[in-house]
Chain length 176, copies 2
Amino acid sequence: MKEWALAKVYQLLEPGPVVLLTTARNGRANVMTMSWHMMVEFEPPLVACVVSGNDYSYAALRATKECVVAIPAAHLAQKIVDIGNCSGRDVAKFEKVGLTPLPAECVRAPLIAECFANLECRVVNSRLVNKYNLFVLEVLKAWTDPKQRNPKTIHHHGYGKFVVDGEMIKLKSRMR
Amino acid sequence: MKEWALAKVYQLLEPGPVVLLTTARNGRANVMTMSWHMMVEFEPPLVACVVSGNDYSYAALRATKECVVAIPAAHLAQKIVDIGNCSGRDVAKFEKVGLTPLPAECVRAPLIAECFANLECRVVNSRLVNKYNLFVLEVLKAWTDPKQRNPKTIHHHGYGKFVVDGEMIKLKSRMR
């Protein structure tokens, strides 16, 4: 065993699917790239995520307590990176990057037409926001695009390196 | 767009790398399989995770406030599932499954020799434990096995289905 730099630990643990988080405030939609999220409960589905105070989406999420978590497949990788490389402070990201907002049903934040799944969410717990920027969301409504079958997601390993989903294996498991 | 069952939302969002969590209490080591975890801060690295009150590891984690997060590569998939299919209440899992505990440096929970990375962790925040079983950990020390080069991890999609890491792509990104 050899010591691993603490600063690079996140590159080991982070690799869940990269998602996009949309918000809307004062009629203006925004979208950011996010890899720091996890499930907290099966049903109703609760999701924790970290949105940095440096992100323009942070203030909108705090104020509106609503967002959409949209899951893009690998063919959107370039757009995912483009979204991460600019700020909603400076540009209208949907137009700039070329993504299509769709109206959601329960929240004002938009769905993203190009993503294979969209989850409408409400912030249900903010106790760790001041300390860690950690929001707990409840998924109110979930959508998938039936035309995108077996989509492959991407997993961020830091600095623009992404692993694309490979083969699926099946083992006998009692775990849900 | 077609509605997606709320109960299956976790199958969309969960797929981070499957990890193993070890604990030690009263001289007895245990290990569980875990997919609900995310990074919270780069440095010092903070990690949030959900450990259910039904898991035998839960009481040990609460009492000792120490654990190791060990990351297995895909060749350990069968052992990962075997660990999830039994409880430390009934069996000594390391022996049963055939994994090798190694002494850690900062915590009493063991490293796992067969894993390509091991993170020694201390619980630093328990405010959401009662409500969500959500622990915030600080990684005190991290280890990797230099003999395991470019390990492929697995990502749980529910009920024993796992996606194995595929190809790595690189895009020009300003994101850390």
